[in-house]
């Protein structure tokens, strides 16, 4: 290692790359997520297309240095279009031995390892369960990679010597050293991070100074150290013209909900109970009280949905959000909303199940729960988002359908897109359509009774959508009662009449079915309208399928991709699309749930391709499957 005092300029080669996958890994206390997010934002601002995949343990601070405590942040950025966080990484940044052990299998041959050598001491090696006396940095096991050992801890401490900070605090800023170094390596500006630090530590100016110092030290380390002779450049991606921002799925969901409330002219009420990975929706909404957003952290999941129902009864946009286990608890109340025929939006950020399952991992296994997980004949509308930014569109649309049809709507997202980020060409507020909400203020029927004709309000009289009038408490003359007991058609009075019950069950189904007239038709995302193989996906598998199908088409394979976002009712033309293909391949991160629905509704044979590992499909494995089917 040469010292920085040397005057001579070192020779640095500049290499241009189309796309790069970096995986940052370390203890969950190492600031990995922050490093990753900052690098992501910087790359986005530079015009790269991006996709990220944060991967953290369920424990907030799992024992330091252990395999269980490894937190990761994978970033895929490029000058080409990017749809997934990448199958394998080009660069693996590890803060300790456990981080290396957990992730090395996913590094491409010839890939770069940047290792913080302080994390490879005897104690760390033992915690990572390497055999005694064995050090992966020394035993030749990493020979097929380019390994750079950097003493991040020592360099950070040296940089902040005399800063007045304690060793513990100093060590906490070592992620800034790593970030600075990588920004140098990929020719990126430090400015976005510098302005982030100023904002983040507004109240602790001394930390702005120390973090800035360490960030710059990391950058200069790359500049001056002889070891590193190559810098990489990844130019802006050819994206449609416009103004972009970076967005995470949960954030997009929250913004979509607020947008819908504003466009409907209603107060947003969000009743919820903290649960991974849905809590960030609450955190985001709670920040925006100046949009007349009312967030309510309830005592449990049941109260969360019930308060939302109460809010809807009062004429607000009532929303509740959770993940699978919480949705299970809400089931009875969702059934109540079906009977009350009030608007209610339920967000399910799916995670690995059943039971507590894999709280921080992703899965698509709540589709059948969404469709059927309630007592009785209890249909609701179900929609699913396909990417982080799509959460915005689908959250808005879930609200639109719920308000315009007086029906509960469940929005399915999952841990992968909820925590993943991508660039988003956000819309102008004025271009987003209004949501038409009509409150009933006048009696809607005339009935004969003994004294002659009287005007009456019938709360279950219907319009062409089969939705009923929404009359709010506070409206004179419209007093009425609704409830969960079967009700007589039109009057809403309690009724145990057998014929009426069957009629009402069918009517509630028909009401949901008719939503199909108010949603977009299914499109082919990629490939021909008719052909050999159709890959039919839904939800967060979009990016992986898109990448795999694109590559297969480039190879000359006759394959198309359709991605369903309206899960119930399904788009009216979906059946016809299915008929146009010889084979329908259905990749799902579950045991074949959507496939069951497709077979049930269209009697179409489907080929299931399931991955139930708590991690998304890689484009590579999907591509291999398509190639196999093409044989």
């Amino acid at each position: 290692m040469t010292t920085a005092t040397q005057e001579s300029k070192k020779q640095v080669e500049n290499k241009e790359l189309k796309n790069v996958v970096i995986l940052f890994a370390g203890d969950s206390g190492d600031g990995i997520q922050l490093t990753g997010t900052q690098f992501t934002n910087t790359s986005a601002l530079l015009g790269n297309d991006i996709s990220t995949f944060p991967n953290f343990p369920a424990e907030i601070r799992a024992p330091q240095g252990t395999l269980a405590g490894v937190s990761g942040f994978q970033l895929h950025f490029g000058s080409v279009n990017i749809y997934t966080a990448g199958d394998h990484s080009d660069v693996l940044v590890v803060m300790n031995a456990a981080a290396l052990k957990a992730n090395i299998k996913n590094l491409k041959p010839g890939g770069i390892v940047i290792a913080n050598i302080e994390g490879f001491g005897p104690k760390n090696l033992e915690l990572a369960k390497y055999p005694k006396g064995d050090n992966p940095l020394k035993n030749g096991s990493l020979d097929k990679f380019n390994v750079y050992e950097v003493d991040v801890t020592k360099l950070t401490r040296a940089c902040l010597e005399g800063s007045g900070l304690g060793v513990k605090d100093i060590d906490r800023s070592k992620n800034m050293f790593v970030l600075g170094f990588l920004l140098w390596m990929y020719n990126r500006s430090m400015d976005p991070t510098l302005s982030f630090l100023k904002e983040q530590f507004k109240k602790k100016p001394e930390l702005i100074e120390t973090n800035t110092k360490v960030l710059k030290a990391g950058y200069n380390y790359g500049e001056t150290t002889e070891t590193f002779t190559t810098r990489y450049e990844v130019k802006a991606a050819p994206m449609p013209k416009g103004i972009y921002r970076s967005i995470m799925g949960n954030q997009a969901t929250a913004i979509g909900l607020i947008t819908a409330a504003k466009k409907a002219g209603l107060t947003l009420f969000y009743g919820t109970y903290p649960i991974t990975p849905a809590s960030d929706i609450l955190h985001e909404l709670a920040k925006h009280k100046n949009f007349d957003v009312k967030t309510f952290q309830a005592e449990d999941e049941i109260a969360a949905v019930c308060t939302a129902i109460g809010a809807s009864f009062g004429g607000n946009l009532g929303i509740t959000g959770s993940s699978g286990p919480g949705i299970a608890l809400k089931a009875e109340a969702i059934g109540l909303a079906v009977m009350l025929e009030l608007p209610l939006v339920i967000v399910n950020v799916q995670r690995g199940g059943p039971s507590t399952g894999l709280p921080t991992k992703t899965e698509q296994a709540d589709l059948l729960q969404a469709l059927y997980g309630r007592n009785g004949e209890c249909p609701i509308v179900v929609v699913a988002a396909s990417s982080p930014s799509d959460c915005f569109q689908m959250a808005y649309d879930a609200c639109r359908i719920s308000l315009e049809h007086m029906v509960p709507v469940m929005l399915l997202t999952d841990g992968y897109i909820a925590n993943g980020a991508e660039p988003w060409r956000f819309p102008n507020a004025k271009d987003i359509p209004e949501i038409k909400v009509k409150f009933a203020t006048r009696k809607n029927s005339v009935i004969e009774n003994g004294d002659g004709k009287i005007e009456k309000f019938l709360p279950y009289l219907r319009d062409e959508k089969l939705s009923r009038p929404w009359a709010l408490p506070g409206t004179k003359g419209m007093e009425h009662r609704i409830g969960g007991i079967e009700k007589e058609n039109e009057t809403g009075n309690i009724s145990y009449d057998p014929d009426n019950h069957e009629f009402m069950v069918k009517l509630r189904q028909e009401k949901v079915d008719r939503v199909a007239n108010y949603i977009p038709e299914q499109k082919i995302d990629n490939g021909r309208e008719k052909g050999k193989i159709l890959v039919l996906g839904w939800g967060s598998t979009y990016g992986s399928i898109k990448t795999a199908v694109k590559e297969c088409i480039d190879m000359g394979i006759d394959v198309s991709h359709a991605h369903v976002k309206y899960m119930n009712p399904l788009p009216k033309n979906l059946g016809n699309i299915l008929k146009n293909f010889d084979k329908v391949l259905m990749p799902e991160m579950n045991n074949g749930q959507f496939s069951k629905i497709i077979r049930d509704q269209f009697l179409t044979p489907t080929i299931n391709f399931n991955k139930i590992k708590g991690i998304p499909f890689s484009a590579g494995e999907l591509k291999a499957k398509i190639e196999e089917l093409n044989k």
């Binding site: 449609p240 103004i243 100046n290 939302a308 129902i309 009864f313 009062g314």
Partner: protein, 345 residues
């Protein structure tokens, strides 16, 4: 409930205006009839427009209540009326929101929501119809049934201890705590009106006779022969006096309440009821002995405690107003843009 946001109606309404067109379907002789009657009677006297009143219930005999009131009503699911009412009141603070629950509904399956409603002090009025039994499911013991209760599900007697409902309510931070009974219409009407006036959660436990599955559960408190000896009607500023000839009083000996002959003590020595005294209210809720037990205290009826505390919905509205003041009214384009953007030309 306060009347601050209410505008008086011009037309004079009567109890009949609060009676819906639905046939009441409780068992003949049920205590619920009296409670319904008292509620319908006081509604015109509250000085708020009828359309601003909403009744919310869960499941159980008592929970059919909203169907019989010609107001806005929501008959929800078992135990959840308090949660539904919370969502309604928090978003529509100008409404007068009433919760009707039974002891199974409010203390068992919905116990969690009841304590959190009280903790948040949301301005709703909760009427807990306590009949110490499950009626709608035909006669199982409830969390309010006394130990040893023989019921369909406990043929050899119940082995779990009952809640002391008002002690529970006090512990949960209730700001209006009262007890009344179906058989004393005047008292019940007074208490319900006071509950309405209170700005915060009002909890009224109403002893209600289930003449089919638990007949006579409260008869020592309601029957002429024993009522005066077994009940203690408490009124703010007045001494605690009871007994057939109103000859018994209660005096505090340190923290220990003792029964004395009124004739033996000076009026100043008796415990004077103070609705604002939380410590004394705590003692009063402990007047909960089995009336068969020797030396037991009479059962208090009336308002145990009233406390003024900001309500949840007021605090929420204030926070929203403050945020708007600090940040300006939310602008959708600013929200959509976020903090950092970049342009692709």
């Amino acid at each position: 409930m306060s009347t601050t946001t209410a505008t008086p109606t011009t037309e004079k309404l009567t109890a009949k205006d609060f009676t819906s067109d639905q046939e009441v379907r409780w068992c003949p002789g049920c205590g619920d009839y009296s409670i319904l009657k008292q509620a319908q009677t006081i509604m015109p006297e509250l000085g708020i427009p009828k359309e601003n009143i909403a009744f919310v219930a869960g499941i159980g005999c008592a929970s059919r209540f909203p169907y019989y009131m010609d107001t806005y009503g929501l008959h929800s699911i078992h135990g959840r009326a308090t949660a539904v009412a919370s969502g309604l009141k928090v978003t529509r603070p100008e409404l007068s929101v009433w919760v009707v629950a039974g002891d199974g509904d409010g203390l068992s399956i919905g116990g969690n929501h009841t304590i959190h409603l009280l903790r948040r002090n949301i301005n709703v009025n909760m009427m807990l119809f306590n009949n110490e039994i499950y009626g709608l499911t035909k006669g199982q013991y409830s969390p309010a049934s006394p130990l040893g209760k023989v019921s369909k599900s406990t043929p050899f007697g119940s082995i779990d201890y009952p809640f002391n409902p008002l002690a529970l309510v006090l512990g949960a931070g209730g700001t209006f705590i009262a007890r009344s009974m179906d058989r004393d219409p005047v008292h019940l009407r007074t208490i319900l009106k006071r509950a309405h006036e209170h700005h915060g959660t009002s909890f009224v436990e109403i002893y209600q006779n289930c003449n089919v599955f638990n007949d006579g559960a409260f008869e020592v408190f309601t029957e002429k022969a024993s009522k005066k000896e077994e009940t203690l009607f408490i009124e703010h500023g007045k001494p605690l006096i009871f007994g057939a000839n109103m000859d018994k009083g209660i005096k505090l000996d340190g923290f220990k309440p003792v029964v004395v002959n009124v004739a033996d003590v000076s009026a100043n020595d008796l415990w004077i009821h103070d609705e604002r005294d939380e410590m004394k209210a705590t003692l009063l809720t402990r007047f909960f002995d089995d009336p068969k037990k020797a030396g037991h205290m009479p059962r208090p009826f009336g308002i145990f405690l009233i406390q003024e505390k900001p309500t949840y919905e007021d605090a929420m509205s204030a926070q929203i107003a403050d945020t708007i003041k600090a940040k300006g009214k939310g602008d959708l384009d600013t929200l959509l843009r976020g903090r950092e953007t970049w342009t692709i030309n």
